[in-house]
């Protein structure tokens, strides 16, 4: 009897549970279907996956189901709520490390410092030493420790972390006597006994107050008088910085961002890549943007030039990372001219700049984490022999570029250092054999570029149906392969599905599958067009290695393609940069330029044609995501590729 009753109870329990479970699952399902899809996630700072396109090929290749999984996770109902719940849960279980960030004491999020790579470090220092020796200019090096060492008492107990002072001592030892070195550990550590906050709680940067506190030491290093009359001004008190975003840890107290600057100096700031001119080193409206630290200098730029009204105070060149951005204002009344180069985004020849400007002082200003991780200093100093001053004309920075000649100088400084496609020998040969010798293909391309440069600067006319038909006809033997960049050609209707094969979000190695499908169509020409996924994918902490890996991954992909189609002619388009606005929040993506340079070099020794499309970049042609381009721009792009292919085939049509 008792067992019967208890069995009945059990049965009732499970019956009720069946309904609870069904209701729970169905509720979420209905919410997922009913709630509208979101395009962007603000918490994650990225665009969310949209419903994937269905074709049988994509289904068979597994592409469709993969994208579907992405889509449903990205568009999951209450997604942000679930994410916060998971983070709260793992914090409750005592996890205090997420994505390279420790949740330290007193609300401090602290980036973990990794062990340095000794070989790379030695190479960087060697190049700095060589630089100082070659130019015999007064060179100083300020190295700022990171929160992980200055605030080591705020790290979680037993946290795994590398000792930065050891590395700094090693750097000091390696640097030659020509470089005056300053390691700011003691100065910053001594601030802990005062009320000054040294680092932001939520961001990897140091505070402006901390930067100000070391002004005396830095000035002593630079032989400058540190006496300064400064104004201080707090621009925001709800700064939630990069470490909070990266780790997802809850932020209890947001940070305040303060500007400290000498109020009486007047000066002109020129961003040398956008040629934007300003009378302030601050972009105050950024204080309320997604990344308030960009209030300083508007974020990182490849080169910024500042001319002050201080007479005869000398010219300073600074190689720096973003730690310098909040320190810079304090130097404004101490120099007549300051050039600020961020090697991560700088691609011009440093030697030219040195000869042109004749600086009185050079300053390296880095935080140790960035100095360890970043390979760009090695890239810009990498063994370019110092040219003889008599042989160069100072104005022409990039003598070989055709853009430099065809593009109006005012548009942009994207004039960049690699050769354009039409100069390639094979296309010239093809032309001379088949065409009447009257038309020089490189001329045609030059004309195209100069004409469309103007078009791109103004209002770009849409292509008519007839033009699209011509385009499709002349590209009938050509297939485009890539990620969402190639997809644009399809989405905007310039080409049809049989000519564009893409995998959204794919990096180069993941394109292998797409190739197999594309190869079945047996095209004569294959054009690769990929975007920033690889800049996102190749992040091993060593930029040079990343560029190298990328270029060779690309050539491997070509080899794979040729194993299916031995006679195919392969073209690879540049990896285009993100928009400046977006690039400011994602400096790693602005490496696109270097990826492209390395790729173009790698292509030189092969029969792959590298198509450079940097001349087409216009800020107003970007979509809101700062990655993709609008329809009109894509039309110009398609025409340009059409022209390149026709020229190579030996029949350039008068377009």
């Amino acid at each position: 009897m008792a067992t019967d009753a208890s069995k009945l109870k059990l049965k009732r329990f499970y019956k009720t549970f069946a309904y609870i479970f069904a209701a729970m699952v169905l509720l979420v399902t209905i919410l997922c279907i009913a709630l509208p899809d979101r395009e962007l996630s603000e918490t994650e700072n990225r665009s969310l996956a949209a419903f994937p396109k269905f074709t049988w090929e994509r289904l068979i290749s597994g592409q469709f189901t993969r994208e579907f999984e992405e889509y449903v996770s990205d568009q999951m109902a209450l997604r942000d709520g679930f994410v916060s719940l998971r983070i709260a849960y793992s914090e409750a279980l005592g996890r205090d490390y997420s994505q390279g960030v420790y949740r330290g004491k007193d609300g401090y999020l602290i980036e973990k410092s990794e062990e340095p790579d000794g070989d790379k470090l030695m190479e960087t220092i060697r190049l700095i030493n060589a630089f100082a020796a070659d130019y015999k200019v007064k060179t100083a090096f300020v190295l700022v420790p990171n929160a992980s060492s200055v605030l080591s008492d705020k790290l979680p107990a037993f946290a795994i972390n590398h000792d930065q002072t050891e590395t700094a001592t090693y750097i000091d030892m390696l640097l030659s006597g020509r470089v005056d070195f300053l390691w700011l550990y003691d100065e910053l550590a001594s601030l802990k006994t005062t009320s000054t906050q040294v680092y932001y709680r939520t961001d990897h940067h140091w505070t402006t107050q901390a930067a100000y506190s070391v002004l005396d030491e830095v000035c002593a290093l630079l032989d400058k008088d540190s006496a300064t009359n400064v104004t201080s001004e707090t621009v925001t008190t709800d700064f939630v910085g990069s470490l909070a975003k990266k780790s997802g840890f809850k932020v209890k107290t947001p940070d305040a961002v303060t500007l400290i600057y000498p109020p009486l100096v007047s000066y002109t700031v020129t961003n040398m890549s956008t040629l934007c001119v300003s009378d302030s080193v601050f972009v105050r409206e950024n204080a309320t943007s997604a990344d308030p630290y960009t209030v300083f200098l508007g974020g990182n730029a490849s080169r910024i030039n500042i001319k002050t009204d201080v007479a005869d105070a000398g010219k300073l060149l600074v190689f720096k990372d973003s730690y310098f951005n909040c320190f810079l204002p304090l130097l404004l009344d101490k120099y007549s001219e300051i050039d600020i180069v961020d090697p991560r985004y700088y691609y011009d020849d440093i030697n030219m700049l040195m000869l042109e400007k004749n600086y009185d002082q050079v300053l390296f200003f880095y935080n140790l984490n960035t100095f360890m991780e970043d390979g760009s200093l090695r890239l810009i100093f990498s063994d370019i022999p110092v040219p003889d001053p008599s042989e160069i004309e100072p104005e022409v920075t990039v003598p070989e570029t055709t853009e430099a000649q065809t593009e109006p100088e005012t548009t942009t400084e994207w004039a960049y250092p690699f050769e354009t496609e039409p100069m390639e020998e094979s296309s010239v040969e093809a032309e001379t054999t088949e065409e009447e010798t009257t038309v020089d293909p490189s001329k045609i391309i030059e004309e195209f570029i100069s004409r469309y440069s103007e078009v791109l600067d103004g209002e770009i006319p849409d292509m008519g149906t007839e033009e699209i038909a011509t385009l499709r006809a002349s590209l009938s033997d050509t297939i485009f392969i890539g990620d969402s960049m190639a997809q644009m050609l399809l989405e905007y209707g310039y080409l049809d599905e049989a000519h564009v094969f893409y995998s959204r979000g794919a990096n180069i190695t993941q394109l292998g599958e797409v190739i197999q499908t594309a190869a079945q169509f047996n095209p004569k020409n294959v054009v690769f067009f990929t975007g920033l996924n690889d800049a996102n994918h190749f992040q091993n902490g060593d930029n040079l290695q990343d560029y190298e890996d990328y270029a060779y991954a690309y050539l491997d992909l070509v080899t794979k393609l040729k194993s299916y189609l031995p006679n195919v002619k392969v073209y690879i388009c540049s990896m285009l940069p993100p928009s400046e606005e977006f690039g400011a929040t994602r400096p790693d993506l602005t490496r696109a330029m270097y990826f492209s340079i390395r790729l173009s070099q790698a292509c030189e020794s092969t029969d792959v044609t590298y198509i450079d499309t940097y001349w087409m970049v216009r800020q107003n042609c970007y979509l809101a995501d700062g990655i993709h381009f609008n329809k009109a721009w894509t039309g110009v792009f398609a025409r340009y590729i059409e022209l390149i292919i026709q020229t190579a085939a030996g029949s350039p049509s008068p377009s």
Partner: protein, 462 residues
């Protein structure tokens, strides 16, 4: 498709369940078969054809085998017939799972790379091949009748709950259920409860433990403390991963009206290795006992033959887990302990349960280390760390002990059968508690699954 995904939980499962419950009985098997094929094809759009091929061939083969038997073919001919079928099934498995291991070994001898590139392992092939083999073996031995309905047979092979990671269901156990089974809200609820338990084991425990283990592995030259902590974490991860998957499979089976046998029975409370293997992956050990060990003569053909049989069975068990030498060693490692227990340690162990328990855990945890590393360099370095080669303790070890401790304690508690006994009591006394716990567990699991696609800032795709 995996169970712990948004697609499965909120799209596939409700769609299939609604359809399955809505159609009349005669349609249910067909619906379930097609749902299972979609489930498989979702991740393996091409290899689903291989599975369908295998179903059709074995379906016909078993019928022919039975017909031959009824027509009084000689034993020799029948045996040949059956052995050809075994060769057929095993050669598919061999090709996809072991050919590259074999060819790379051969390549070392000839001095060139012979491996076949781009050959990926079809998901679940080890599981469904073993199910097929159990079926034809049982037909050959006359234990079951050959299934005449191709759909029902294919459903047995490809049913989605157990398709990818078991349990290995024997045809004899499920034959009747294919024709007749019961569905009721109570059975469904029991299955749902089972499913949530399994999901929580997998998502909340196994994944969290595994994350710490892989961080420890990434350190290189780790201390004794870190190495043993890592080994314990990995042992728990494997248990919760695998038993969680089995629980989910069994739960889904219940929801569809099928009863699968228990696959794990609290293995970490065992007091001997023999007991451990009676409690760990029961369907696999059962399969090897039934179809390899006993046919080889088991323990009835003399001591030396018995030892040989054990060695063969455990070598195969090791290899079944993966195509790598470490799996082979791992299998033989267990053979050694099992033989020692049978002939030497048996009485001692049953007299000293606590010592037996400690011994078992040490052997098992060390065994999982062999299991974990397919690369021999990594394996020896890790084992070195476990034997003080890289220091006794370090700050990293303390750090991981400190941060993993809460998860570790919960995991250890969840290994004990008492927890489930308490749950059974609570179901009767305070069902609301169990409702709430299950709902919370489910929500937390979903949160963790969603978080996996959380790619902020630096790590995003577009």
């Amino acid at each position: 498709m995996v169970f712990s995904s948004i697609t499965f939980l909120f799209y596939y499962l409700p769609a299939v369940m609604i359809l399955y419950l809505a159609v009349p009985w005669r349609m249910k098997n067909i619906i379930l078969l097609f749902a299972s094929l979609i489930f498989y094809a979702w991740g393996e759009p091409v290899y689903v054809l291989l599975m369908v091929f295998s179903c059709v061939v074995n379906y016909v083969w078993a019928i022919l085998l039975e017909r031959g038997k009824n027509q009084g073919l000689s034993d020799g001919l029948l045996k040949t017939h059956f052995i050809l079928n075994v060769i057929f099934n095993l050669s598919i498995l061999f090709y996809f799972k072991y050919i590259n291991m074999f060819l790379s070994g051969l390549g070392l001898i000839v001095g060139s790379d012979l491996t076949i590139r781009g050959l990926s392992l079809p998901i679940g092939i080890s599981f469904y091949t073993f199910q097929t083999l159990s079926y034809t073996a049982d037909v050959y031995r006359g234990k079951v009748r050959a299934q005449r309905n191709l759909f029902d047979f294919s459903l047995y092979i490809s049913m989605f709950p157990q398709l990818i990671a078991g349990p290995i269901v024997r045809y004899a156990d499920i034959e009747k259920q294919l024709r007749r089974r019961r569905l009721s809200p109570a059975i469904f609820g029991q299955g749902a409860e089972f499913f949530i338990t399994g999901l929580a084991k997998k998502v909340l425990l196994a994944n969290a433990l595994g994350e710490v283990f892989s961080q420890i592995c990434a350190l290189g030259n780790i201390s004794w403390l870190s190495a043993w902590l890592g080994a314990v974490l990995y042992s728990l991860q494997l248990y919760f991963d695998f038993s969680g998957y089995s629980d989910m499979a069994i739960g889904l089976g219940y929801m569809l009206g099928f009863k699968f046998n228990k696959n794990f029975d609290h293995p970490y409370v065992s007091a001997s290795i023999t007991e451990f293997w009676r409690r760990w992956h029961i369907s696999l050990s059962g399969w090897f006992r039934e179809y390899v060990y006993i046919p080889l003569g088991g323990n009835r053909a003399g001591k030396s033959r018995h030892i040989l049989n054990l060695l063969i069975v455990w070598m195969l068990t090791g290899l079944w887990h993966g195509a790598g030498l470490n799996f082979l060693f791992w299998g033989l490692y267990y053979a050694v302990f099992l033989i020692a227990e049978k002939y030497i340690l048996k009485d001692y162990l049953s007299a000293h349960r606590i010592l037996g328990h400690i011994y078992t855990l040490l052997v098992v945890v060390f065994g999982w280390v062999i299991f974990a590393f397919t690369d021999s360099g990594e394996l020896f370095s890790y084992i070195g760390s476990m034997f003080f080669l890289h220091g006794f303790m370090d700050s990293a070890g303390f750090y991981y002990v400190r941060t993993a401790l809460p998860t570790l304690i919960i995991a250890v508690i969840c290994c004990l059968p008492q927890v489930y006994a308490v749950k059974r009591v609570l179901i009767r006394r305070a069902p609301v508690v169990i409702y709430v716990v299950n709902i919370l567990l489910f929500i937390l699991c979903v949160a963790c699954i969603v978080y996996d696609s959380y790619n902020p800032f630096l790590y995003f795709r577009f």
